[in-house]
């Protein structure tokens, strides 16, 4: 059976000779030294970037959360206030003369809900004000065709959760393997994960981890978990030694 010859390969644009700009002029040179001075405005100035609007919205949600639960979680239900608050405040500021001896302001200030209310009086307006500024910055960026795509920023936040996970795993590992072993393990595994591989790096990391244990646990006797599964599997003498010093 005759097989049809394959069709000639399509010549795509990408396989064609790339466009090269040839110029006979000398390369651009400058006599000015490179401007690598730190701009102090970068240190003190503040500019809203991508992701700011999302976080500002989150902060409004946090403020709203605290505001909603203010009425049930701060003792507001058991508040003790004068019957006519408008009259009370007018008496307080001397606008009107009190009919009877007014309640002491200090008695009101002592109540549990006062401090949260005072803080919420700053938190809620500040969160809304900040959201307004974030929206304005978002519009400004859009107007000047700067990217407002927050996906990169969100990806960075999510990427960080990996290292939060390392921290949590370390926390959970300490009661199983003990402070010494867990620290040595994390102190070498995490740098390995970060790309510091090879014998030299591993030696440095193991030595640093061991030094941390020596300084904090052996030297300063800082509290670490006591009931260690691994230590319990060891002979009594060694187990006690490890529990005391490592």
């Amino acid at each position: 059976m005759k097989v049809a010859p394959p069709p000639p390969a399509l010549k795509s644009a990408t396989t064609s000779t790339p466009l090269r700009v040839r110029t006979n002029t000398a390369p651009l040179t400058s006599t000015c030294p490179p401007e690598d001075k730190i701009d102090l405005r970068d240190v003190t100035d503040f500019r809203r970037g991508r992701g700011d609007l999302i976080f500002s919205l989150f902060m409004v949600a946090v403020a709203a959360f605290f505001l909603i639960f203010f009425f049930t979680q701060t003792g507001w239900e058991d508040r003790k206030l004068p019957a006519n608050m408008a009259k009370y405040w007018m008496d307080q500021f001397g606008i009107t003369d009190p009919d009877t001896r007014p309640a002491r302001l200090g008695r009101i200030l002592k109540q549990g809900w006062v401090a949260p209310m005072a803080v919420l009086c700053i938190l809620v307006p500040a969160a809304l004000w900040n959201l307004r500024s974030a929206v304005r910055a978002y519009r400004w960026r859009a107007r000047f065709r700067l990217s407002n795509d927050a996906r990169y920023e969100l990806r960075q936040w999510v990427r960080t959760l990996e290292f939060v996970g390392w921290f949590v795993a370390y926390t959970l590992l300490v009661p199983v393997l003990g402070y010494l072993v867990s620290t040595m393990l994390l102190g070498t595994a995490l740098p390995w994960r970060l790309g510091y591989r090879g014998t030299r790096w591993m030696r440095i990391c193991a030595a640093t981890s061991f030094a941390i244990v020596l300084v904090f646990r052996t030297g300063l006797q800082i509290r670490t978990p006591v009931n260690i599964w691994l230590y319990d599997q060891l002979p009594q003498g060694l187990s006690t030694f490890l529990k005391v010093w490592f």
């Binding site: 003190t44 992701g51 401090a115 939060v164 949590v168 370390y170 970060l194 670490t224």
Partner: protein, 496 residues
């Protein structure tokens, strides 16, 4: 004078001297590494201080605080990267000197100016204690609960106003910090605030858990997800001893800068940045060659370093005299006072005067030790600059665990610290300031405590301001608010 000698006597013990040495040298190394500042180091060390003697703990933290800015000048001058944020202005003239092949001259000047600035404010503090000590004891009578409440309120207003471009964010985060501090059972009326029936929340969030999370874990996450810096190789040739000779040629700049640092340090919420701006601008204004500023002017370098190193000793004043911390580092030190059962405030002059002398004399020793260490080992310290950032991040994470777990043996604390760390990471990414949260935690609690304690004397709203100190502070608060509003309106008009 008896308290002075007793103060020296307190320091003459091996653990205290070792703590001074470790704090000073450790602070230098921490300052020299771009990426970790003194706040992270103090956050990690805080839990360890629970197991140490009060004075040992405080001199250890003071060592880190007082020496980190010395160390921060090294990368600022050699590789144009400030070791701590407050060394940013040092890069202007310091790095210009390095590019001219005068790195050693820049470092020598930075060390001598830093030493001068540090000693200047310490000696002023010590002189004030000696000269006015007997009168300062009467401060206790002058400052009541309402006065300290007003001082904390002034600190809050100044802190928020200092964030000129992000006042809304500073206020928001301050309030968030204050609200976090309010979570838990109110001891006076036994009312549970935002506990939602969760047992863990009844005692409230531990301050150290929040601080370690917000500062240390967030910085670890920031470093871990970033890239290793590839700083240029720095070459250091020449002696470091000639700095004092050059400093003597600029006595006025040195004095003015150290003076600015001392004054700005005393004002809560202002700190090193403002002191540097003022002193640098003044130095340029009085210079015969202002055009050389930013191009390796020695007086520019002196202005920057003398002012920022004068701040730590001065920043101890509002903390010790009023119990009101002015910035994050002194707020963290407040935790040590809480643990030690020492109440910083006006009464400290009456009850613990020797303790005050001990702290200021320790700061003086720290400055001398740091200078000697720098002169002897700058070449070694300069190598610390090249420690990879991400590796540092990994070890900060390990250290953070010890810090958090050791407080209450609680895994839940560790989980919450991780949560606060993640929050802090997002704030860092968005360039939102972290300091207002910590100051909200501390100052918010102080304000609530003082207002509650003084409530029996508050009959009407005028009783809040009817004392001389409280009234004056209230007027200052109104002045600061008015000034901030007016300058913001003017700036906005100018921009439009």
């Amino acid at each position: 004078m008896e308290a002075f000698w007793q103060g020296i006597d307190n320091l003459a013990s091996l653990p205290v001297l070792v703590a001074i040495l470790i704090g000073s040298v450790g602070g230098l190394a921490i300052g020299a590494v771009p990426g970790i500042g003194p706040a992270i180091a103090i956050a990690i060390l805080l839990p360890a201080t629970v197991f140490l003697d009060d004075l040992v703990s405080l001199v250890l933290l003071l060592g880190v605080y007082g020496s980190s800015m010395f160390g921060g000048a090294i990368p600022a001058i050699l590789i144009n990267t400030p070791g701590t944020p407050v060394n940013a202005l040092t890069t202007y003239d310091g790095y210009a000197m390095t590019r001219r092949g005068e790195a050693a001259r820049g470092l020598a000047l930075a060390y001598s100016a830093s030493f001068f600035g540090g000693c200047f404010s310490i000696l002023i503090g010590l002189s004030a204690l000696i000269l006015f000590g007997p009168y300062l004891r009467d401060l206790g009578a002058l400052f009541g609960q309402r006065d300290i409440f007003m001082a904390a309120a002034l600190g809050t207003v100044l802190l928020i106003a200092a964030h000129r471009r992000s006042i809304g964010i500073a206020a928001l985060l301050f309030a968030l910090g204050a609200l976090i501090a309010l979570v838990g059972r109110q001891s006076l009326k036994q009312i549970d605030r935002y506990t939602f029936g969760v047992d863990y929340l009844y005692p409230g969030f531990n301050l150290i858990v929040v601080i370690v999370g917000i500062f240390a874990i967030s910085q670890a996450l920031f470093l871990l997800t970033g890239k290793d810096a590839d700083p240029p190789e720095a070459r250091l040739k020449g002696g470091l001893l000639r700095g004092f000779g050059e400093l003597k040629k600029h006595p006025l700049v040195a004095m003015i800068s150290a003076g600015y640092g001392t004054i700005m340090g005393v004002i809560p919420g202002v700190g090193e940045f403002v002191a540097q701006f003022f002193s640098y601008s003044t130095a340029r204004a009085i210079s015969k060659a202002p055009g050389k500023f930013g191009r390796g002017a020695p007086d520019g370098l002196i202005a920057s370093e003398a002012s920022n190193n004068a701040v730590p000793a001065a920043a101890m004043v509002p903390l010790l005299a009023l119990g009101v911390p002015g910035e994050a580092l002194t707020a963290m030190m407040m935790v040590v006072f809480f643990d030690a059962g020492i109440k910083p405030g006006p009464d400290i002059f009456e009850n613990n005067a020797d303790f005050l002398f001990s702290l200021f004399i320790a700061l003086l020793i720290i400055n001398v030790l740091v200078l000697v260490t720098l002169l002897a080992s700058t070449r070694l310290l300069a190598r610390i600059i090249y420690v990879p950032n991400r590796l540092l991040g990994a070890f900060i994470l390990i250290l953070a665990f010890v810090g958090v777990f050791s407080i209450r043996n609680s895994f839940t604390d560790c989980m919450f610290a991780a949560g606060f760390g993640f929050l802090g990471y997002i704030l860092r990414r968005l360039d939102w300031p972290l300091v207002p949260i910590v100051l909200g935690l501390v100052l918010g609690q102080i304000m609530v405590d003082k207002l509650t304690a003084g409530s029996s004397q508050i009959r009407t709203v005028y009783d809040l301001v009817d004392r001389p100190v409280a009234g004056t502070l209230f007027v200052v608060i109104l002045g600061v608010i008015a000034f901030t509003v007016v300058t913001n309106i003017r700036t906005k008009r100018f921009e439009h």
